[in-house]
Symmetry: C2
Subunit: 149 residues, 2 copies
Amino acid sequence: MAPSSKKHRQQLTRSGSRQDRLTAYLREAGLRPTRQRMALAALLFDQGDRHVTAESLYSEALESGVKVSLATVYNALHTFTSKGILREISIDSSRSYFDTNVEEHHHFYFEKSGTLEDIDQSQIRLTRLPKTPGGLKISRVDVVIRVDG
Amino acid sequence: MAPSSKKHRQQLTRSGSRQDRLTAYLREAGLRPTRQRMALAALLFDQGDRHVTAESLYSEALESGVKVSLATVYNALHTFTSKGILREISIDSSRSYFDTNVEEHHHFYFEKSGTLEDIDQSQIRLTRLPKTPGGLKISRVDVVIRVDG
DNA sequence: CAAGCAGTTTAGAATTATTCTAATGTTAGG
DNA sequence: CCTAACATTAGAATAATTCTAAACTGCTTG
Ligand SMILES: [Mn+2]
Ligand SMILES: [Mn+2]
Ligand SMILES: [Zn+2]
Ligand SMILES: [Zn+2]
């Protein structure tokens, strides 16, 4: 790779298909692939399923040398959520978790560490759901198994 | 009732068996039946099952003429929870709900109004719970059905 | 490849829910 | 009554999140 006119670039910025995939992913979601969104999306979507908080993602971004503000992290998390590529989980009233797994699934919550682990939908059988009051539409069913450790 | 040496008392302070029941209830939970706890307990436990937030209970207390501070409401909610006569529910990361129903049960969450409604345990059949990682003990299983209205 | 605008980022201030502090008041037992 | 432990309180402090308004950048159009 020839040295470019810019002083330096982020490590991850060039790499062909990975970048392209992320760009396409953001575009498909109707979002501009800006520098900070790309960097955050790389952290979020280049590993397996993840559960992050705004602070945890912000720390990661800083550690990996991405220049981004906390406000932008909040913006990105909410924007990604509204576009359906993240999902928000309320499990602890002191902070929000965001989940890269947007399929229907459930969670273990480890109370001591404050961490989450996915439970595939097939692992839980929910039968006999009650009918909703007034026949209102169900937007989501969340099962959280809180465990002690 | 002869006028007492104290300037005035709260309206509800005297009333025989209802007071006595609440007093006994707090005592059994290992709590001193103080004026503000009694007043809050009356609001919480004298109606059917309730779901309150600190603010909502505080407003109610003020409206009904109970002199209590917000800090005391938080103290009482947490103390009651630690003694097992309330239970805390995290459904919305912006605030905690406290539930006077401490039996195992589940909830409808009405997203527009931010209100909760109980679902009896018998109304939901949860089969095939996955085994917990490391064989950790389950402390609670919460099912929340989010509905649109 | 400009030019320009909508959309994005940002620092820092503001807001909101909740917790803390330390002083004052109350309960319950002897 | 006296007292010690417990509870309440106002207000300050904290922490997560949102807002503001100005600076910036991606993208479309000429
Ligand atoms: Mn009920
Ligand atoms: Mn908060
Ligand atoms: Zn998940
Ligand atoms: Zn309930």
